[in-house]
């Protein structure tokens, strides 16, 4: 059976509803194993009550996103930092 995940690209729309920067090009660092990856390279499980993005190295949960009726919950406990590329400022 194929595993039911997609790339972190799948986060672009749902997270884009919250933040004005595109985070799929940001770099996360997994709290569990320390691996750094583009958010776009995370493994996203979306056939679930929310979106769950896991580390491609160790499968630990890096972020969760739940969209309620009038609020969203973004759980970032699995990433120790997010490096977000920005124009020079």
């Amino acid at each position: 059976m194929s595993e039911l995940f997609e790339d972190g690209n799948a986060l672009a729309g749902p997270v884009g509803e919250i933040f004005a920067v595109d985070i799929t090009g940001a770099t996360t660092r997994c709290v569990s194993c320390g691996r750094a990856d583009a958010v776009a390279a995370l493994r996203v499980y979306r056939h679930a009550p929310g979106l769950v993005a896991r580390c491609p190295g160790c499968d630990a949960v890096v972020l969760k996103l739940v969209r309620g009726r009038d609020a969203a919950w973004l759980d970032l406990t699995g990433t120790s930092s997010l490096r977000i590329p920005l124009p020079e400022g």
């Binding site: 672009a12 729309g13 884009g16 124009p87």
Partner: protein, 243 residues
């Protein structure tokens, strides 16, 4: 890339083109569309009379032409959304969409680097957007496309891909049934195909791979085995969308 927060817009179906017996390109007219990069997506939201609602993500198939954007939808038998979009959704009908989204699996026409595009089935869509963006921008970046399909009837954009285009090499590999004049037997893309049809790793091409999850895993492993820098291999997997 700073994009501003996403909101739902209303687009209307302006034009349809059947690509294969089971895939249809939908051209939507979206007033105020902000433009997009090749490789980006849109989310479509469909709402039934009783309020039931569902969302799907589609790759954009071409650069924006003013307020017009194009997606190509593969009909999945028994699916919830794709049979509607390919059979029922009619010119003039509205649909909600938001985007463009995704800033990672994108190609910019300003990049002069060689490009290797590898598509499995419907994974051709965002890669076709890159080929079309290159043409529209007059880019001279050399591009090789390796495209895996089941049979000749499954090739999207067949006429356009057959037309010779300077700096673009197209190789199609058939997995089930090949045309009579095709050398060799139908097979899945392997290391020999990528080695022959792609760029040597020393050329440091930007590689974009799009297709079903298993296909993308295999090709990404092949590219790394051939010496390509994993940081220059960008992938996009289709999930089991059941759409």
């Amino acid at each position: 890339m700073v994009q501003g927060r996403l909101a739902w817009r209303v687009g209307r179906l302006a034009e349809v083109r059947d690509e294969t017996p089971t895939a249809r390109t939908l051209v939507l007219d979206v007033p105020g569309w902000p433009g997009h990069l090749a490789g980006q997506h849109v989310d479509l939201r469909l709402t039934a009379e009783d309020g039931y609602r569902t969302t799907r993500t589609y790759s954009l198939a071409a650069p924006a032409a003013g307020d017009r954007v194009a997606i190509t939808v593969q009909r999945v038998p028994g699916g919830e959304v794709s049979p509607y979009l390919t059979e029922v959704f009619a010119v003039g009908d509205p649909v909600e969409l938001r985007g463009p989204v995704g800033g990672w699996f994108v190609w910019r026409p300003t990049s002069p680097d060689p490009v290797l595009l590898i598509a499995g089935g419907a994974g051709i869509v965002p890669l076709m957007a890159m080929i079309r963006a290159r043409r529209a921008a007059g880019s001279r970046a050399p591009v090789k496309l390796l495209y895996s399909v089941r049979t000749p009837a499954d090739v999207y954009y067949a006429g356009e891909l057959r037309r010779p285009e300077p700096g673009l090499d197209v190789t199609v590999v058939y997995t089930r049934k090949a045309p009579a004049d095709w050398p060799g037997e139908p097979h899945r893309i392997g290391i020999a195909d990528v080695n022959t049809a792609g760029w040597p790793a020393e050329f440091a091409p930007q590689c974009f791979v799009c297709g079903p999850t298993g296909f993308v895993e295999t090709i990404a492993d092949v590219l790394v085995a051939l010496g390509h820098d994993p940081r220059r291999v960008k992938t996009e997997r289709f999930g089991p969308s059941g759409s």
